[in-house]
């Protein structure tokens, strides 16, 4: 069970309090004129990296907030968690900022 630092609560809490919410920084395209390719990419295509992933979590049984995390998918180690809307820290290896 992972231990996850909620950037809103300022505490590391057990994974049971959290819900994973998919890759982070996937921008939602707006409007009817979004192309098929862009829309497919938004809906379905994922980096799914073996290495650093930027992902979303929600502290669902805590403060209820969504936030972002950078995690190594090989070791499951968290590099950092940060608030929703914040940009991914630029100094993280593989960061897409």
């Amino acid at each position: 069970m992972l231990l996850i630092h909620c950037p809103y609560c300022g505490e590391a809490r057990p994974e049971l309090e959290f819900r994973h919410a998919g890759e982070a920084h996937v921008a939602r395209p707006v409007g009817a004129d979004v192309g098929d390719e862009d829309f497919e990419a938004f809906l379905f295509l994922r980096a799914n990296p073996k290495g650093i992933v930027f992902e979303r979590w929600r502290h669902i049984h805590g403060c209820g907030r969504f936030f972002n995390a950078a995690r190594d998918t090989v070791s499951d180690r968290f590099l950092v968690t940060y608030k929703a809307g914040d940009k991914a820290p630029a100094d993280i290896e593989g960061g897409r900022v």
């Binding site: 992972l2 409007g31 009817a32 098929d36 809906l43 929600r58 907030r65 969504f66 070791s75 180690r77």
Partner: protein
């Protein structure tokens, strides 16, 4: 029977209370503090089990958790039977009943042992090469035969009468292992003020010191030092000692799982005490002091009862006061086994010979042995043993020589060296490093905050282990070590050893030199696997099953690896090391499940009206975690009768329905309407205060996600309802968009599902029923038309009254605070009864809504359905520029023709009710595979229509109205006519009064 092999004056449990226990029906005496193994050995019993494949007689090999052979069934009573218990771990108690396994009819005479005679046929992986002809015979004959032969113990056949529990704990330092290194680490860490949990799998701390007799720590006997250290620790408030507790799994971020056995050692366990307890410990730092495990020697006949680990014999003697034989041989490749021989000799046991495969073991050992009158055969190998159910002699030969000496013995102690227990370190994803000099895998770098100390970290002597323990404990506490490390004198070292069989002994074509005792894997099996192309140790392991028995190869893996590497002429690390996986030793399912049984398996959600419904004799159904009243049978009615009556009553008079399980979300804030515009397909901005609207919610992919009625209570306040099952995911979905896509919107979402009890009153008399109870709300059609909402009081309680309908009748849904739900319900029901109305359940609700063609998301839709498919295109705001799912709906296959659309089906025979899930075809005579063009989503007997009705999703359904189609059933196709999905009051006049 007297304990003939208990040695007076030896051991540490002497003088304890005597107990009686039985093994295979024979009664024996033991003493408290014995394990089943030590007690059996005290009675001269070595033969305790039969092996997995060849059913060879097997004896006790070890004195610990690594035991491969001595597995027994323990039976407390009919509902407390445990298979595959290691006799070396099970403590005896008065009245313990143990039975041997995998034998028939008896342990001494086992018919299955014919497998041993046929063993040349049953080579490694033989089953992959045969049993293929004739084809059907595998299933009918071969496999059942193999299955009956395999398996060990007998699974319990009754529900377990014991209970189990779970705990979480946090500490600064978790020390795994209460041997010398672990005790030292716990002392040092707790000295520095750290909170410490010390876990040890044995009944008491001390670890390998159980077998130790001569070593001194701080001038005391090592055992005494361990007891004093434990006493010191026990008195510290910052230390928790858990004995009989195995750390079995090392998970991410220093989460270590422990299983604590609480009652298996007690004669009469308290009934309220959990049998086992699972601990999940999150530690800032972990000290692994898990010790090392002695390996047996690999040689032909090394599995005969009486052949055992030297350290085990030493432990049985020095701790339990039990001699494992009267005339004992030793076969070793390292030093510590010599100490066992000296200890046994010192206790008056005859040691017939020490065979050491090394050409020149330490001279002082040889001298001492010689002085004690023990024959030393150095540079020799044991090439065989004899005896049927117990060893009677060993055969020794000079390595490279030919002459064979036959030496009588009734026990043979073997040691080929010590394997550090790196299981947990490896589980922590630490890298193991192979030390070529000592031929051992040792802990290398690890990603977690964890230190290995003592024999598991490569310490080669007690002094080194204690030193490492102190250092590790101090380092783990984050403080400098203050106290000096105790002085250790003497004690065996465990530096040398060998892997695989001695030269030219063991891999011969027909030799049975066992590597994995339990699974009957011999050195030649491993050689055969390699010859057949199994180059990776994982292949060797899976092909031969070595290391896959209940002991998971604790004594055998290194031998297997070395044999494979030797044949491949590759260094050991290149052949690989099989992955260590949790659990370290087997863990009871019950401990992992803990309290999560029966009612606690998952919480039950009940509405405030549940108990009333129960009193009325309602039959309930599970809907998610909720219990919902399905129907209210009266006077011996069956479900059909009850539902027909309820449906009829609602349309003739009225019905009262508990809708409290519906999800409810309060959406407030200045941007609430704008937010709902994004979440639903419908427009909301122009919805007047006091009005309601049916809303459809899509996922981003354009498919229906949920639906429900939304009422506007104020410009900035909406009362949203969702499906019963959908409430949590809808709230999550809304929060997601609010927090991450539209964070600029000033909107607040609050789940109010549990806050409101919802009482639906539906039917022509609904207004008459509630009118006397309502205050402050004009219920007339003119001021409160269909789809409106008012706040007022019902029965004196603040209420939200919705004029809405899921039945097609005039209807109201009254929301009152949950605590008042039951009281308000009872008053409404009393009024209802005056008009001849009834309570109705979910089944009648389903029928009534189907008569009107109202869909149920999740029943009439399945996650691949768009609003257009089910006739809800009207619910999509035509002028909206964005909402969740809008772009998804525009994808080519969602807009294309040929989609399945919601229709009604009327069976040509009105009495035939279709089966939900049945498929629809155009040509009932088409051969299989048939072309299915749709399926029945809902089907009921409609009392109000006097016929069966059904809803279906049908390809191009909207354009097939009036067509005759077929629903093929096993006993023939049912003829149906496609119709619009409305069966009752098509104009909808009844809704409006």
């Amino acid at each position: 029977m007297a304990e003939a092999f208990r040695i007076r004056g030896a051991g540490r449990i002497e003088g304890a209370r005597g107990v009686r226990f039985s093994f295979d029906g024979q009664s024996y005496r033991g003493i408290e503090g014995d394990t089943l193994a030590s007690a059996l050995l005290a009675n001269g019993v070595h033969l305790v089990g039969r092996s997995f494949k060849y059913h060879r007689p097997r004896g006790i090999v070890s004195a610990g958790a690594e035991e491969p052979n001595a597995l027994v069934g323990i039976r407390r009573d009919r509902s407390r039977q445990t298979p595959n218990v290691r006799a070396t771990v099970q403590e005896v108690y008065d009245g313990l009943v143990a039975i041997s396994q995998n034998r028939w009819p008896s342990l001494a005479f086992d018919v299955g042992a014919v497998n041993d005679l046929a063993s040349p046929f049953f080579s490694a992986g033989f089953y992959y090469k045969t049993f293929m002809w004739p084809k059907a015979a595998w299933e009918r004959f071969y496999e059942p035969f193999i299955r009956r032969a395999a398996g060990l113990g007998v699974a319990p056949d009754r529900a377990d009468a014991d209970c189990y529990s779970n705990r979480f704990a946090h500490c600064d330092v978790l020390v795994v292992g209460g041997g010398a290194a672990g005790l030292a680490a716990a002392l040092a860490a707790s000295d520095a003020g750290a909170s410490v949990i010390l876990a040890d799998e044995q009944a008491e701390t001390g670890g390998a010191l159980r077998g130790e007799k001569t070593a001194l720590v701080d001038g005391k006997s090592a055992w005494e030092w361990a007891k004093e250290a434990t006493e010191t620790l026990a008195q510290r408030a910052n230390v928790r000692i858990l004995t009989r507790t195995t750390a079995f799994g090392y998970y991410a971020q220093n989460m270590v799982a422990l299983s604590e056995r609480r009652t298996d050692h007690l004669a009469e366990p308290p009934t309220d005490m959990p049998r086992e307890r699972l601990w999940q410990v999150r530690a800032a730092r972990v000290v692994l002091a898990t010790g090392a495990i002695e390996r047996p020697m690999v040689f032909p006949g090394n599995d005969r009862p009486g052949v055992m680990l030297a350290s085990a014999a030493r432990c049985y003697l020095n701790h339990y006061g039990v001699a494992v034989g009267r005339r004992v041989g030793v076969y070793t490749a390292e030093d510590s086994a010599w100490q066992a021989a000296f200890d046994l000799k010192g206790a008056g046991i005859d040691v017939s010979a020490i065979v050491d495969s090394r050409p020149s073991p330490p001279e002082d050992f040889v001298e001492r042995a010689t002085a004690l009158g023990i024959e030393c055969l150095t540079g020799h190998a044991v090439t065989g043993t004899s005896g049927r159910l117990r060893i009677s002699s060993l055969k020794a030969r000079r390595i490279g020589g030919t002459a064979i000496r036959d030496i009588a013995c009734d026990a043979l102690l073997t040691s080929s060296g010590w394997t550090p227990s790196v299981h947990l370190f490896s589980q922590s994803r630490g890298k193991l490093v192979f030390d070529a000099d000592s031929q051992r895998f040792l802990p290398g770098e690890g990603p977690q905050d964890c230190i290995s100390a003592g024999a598991c970290a490569g310490a080669l002597s007690l002094a080194e282990a204690v030193e490492q323990g102190f250092r590790a404990g101090a380092a783990a506490s984050g403080k400098r070590r203050r106290k000096p490390v105790p002085m250790v004198t003497e004690g065996a070292s465990w530096s040398e050893g060998t892997l695989g069989p001695a030269e030219d002994a063991g891999t011969g074509a027909f030799a049975k030199a066992f590597v994995d005792f339990q699974n009957d894997v011999t050195a030649k099996d491993i050689a055969q696997a390699v010859r057949e192309g199994m180059r990776s140790i994982e292949h060797v392991k899976r092909f031969t099953t070595t290391g896959m028995a209940t002991d998971q190869g604790k004594t055998s893996n290194m031998h297997g690896l070395a044999i494979a590497a030797g044949i491949l002429r590759k260094p050991i690390p290149e052949v690989g090391l099989t992955t260590f996986r949790a659990p370290y030793t087997p863990v009871t399912f019950g401990a992992l499940a803990g309290h999560a049984r029966g009612a606690l398996f998952e919480p039950v959600r009940r509405t405030p009206i549940h108990d009333w419904a129960k009193m009325q004799g309602a039959v309930f159904e599970d809907v998610g975690q909720w219990k919902r009243a399905r129907y209210f049978p009266q006077d011996g009615e069956d479900m059909h009768g009850a539902v027909a009556r309820e449906c009829r009553t609602v349309r003739e008079s009225a019905g009262v329905f508990d809708a409290s399980t519906l999800g409810k979300i309060e959406v407030t804030g200045p941007d609430a309407a704008a937010f709902l515009e994004m979440i639903y397909t419908n427009p909301w901005s122009k919805l007047a205060v006091g009005r309601c609207r049916y809303g459809v919610m899509l996922r981003e992919d354009g498919f229906i996600f949920d639906d429900g009625v939304v009422g506007r209570l104020a410009e900035d306040r909406f009362h949203v309802t969702t499906t019963t099952g959908g409430a949590p995911r809808v709230l999550h979905h809304m929060e997601d968009y609010l927090q991450t896509e539209f964070p600029q919107m000033r909107v607040y979402l609050t789940s109010t599902t549990e806050q409101w009890a919802v009482i639906a009153v539906q039917g022509p008399k609904s207004r008459d029923i509630i009118a006397p109870l309502v205050e402050g709300v004009d219920l007339s059609d003119a001021t409160m038309p269909h789809m409106s909402v008012r706040e007022g009081k019902v029965c004196g309680v603040p209420a939200r009254i919705f004029r809405m309908s899921f039945t097609g009748e005039r209807g109201f849904e009254i929301n009152v605070p949950a605590d008042f739900g039951r009281a308000v319900w009872e008053e409404i029901f009393a009024e209802a009864q005056k008009t001849g109305a009834c309570a109705y359940g979910t089944e009648a609700m389903h029928v009534l809504r189907a008569e009107k063609g109202y869909i149920i998301v999740g029943q009439d839709t399945d996650g691949t359905v768009t609003p257009h498919d089910v006739g809800l295109a009207w619910a999509i705001g035509k002028n909206k520029t964005d909402f969740v799912g809008m772009r998804g709906l525009m994808r080519s296959d969602l807009a294309a023709g040929g989609r399945k659309q919601l229709v009604g089906l009327k069976t040509i025979d009105p009495r035939t009710v279709l089966e939900e899930g049945a498929q629809i075809v155009a040509d009932p005579n088409e051969p299989v595979p048939m072309t299915m063009i749709g399926h029945v989503t809902s089907a009921y007997w409609s009392e109000n229509c006097g016929r069966s009705i059904a809803l279906a999703l049908l390809k191009d359904g909207a354009s097939r109205i009036g067509e005759r189609l077929f629903v093929p059933m096993p006993d023939g196709a049912v003829n149906v006519e496609v119709c619009r999905p409305v069966f009752f009051d098509e104009e909808g006049g009844r809704l409006h009064g």
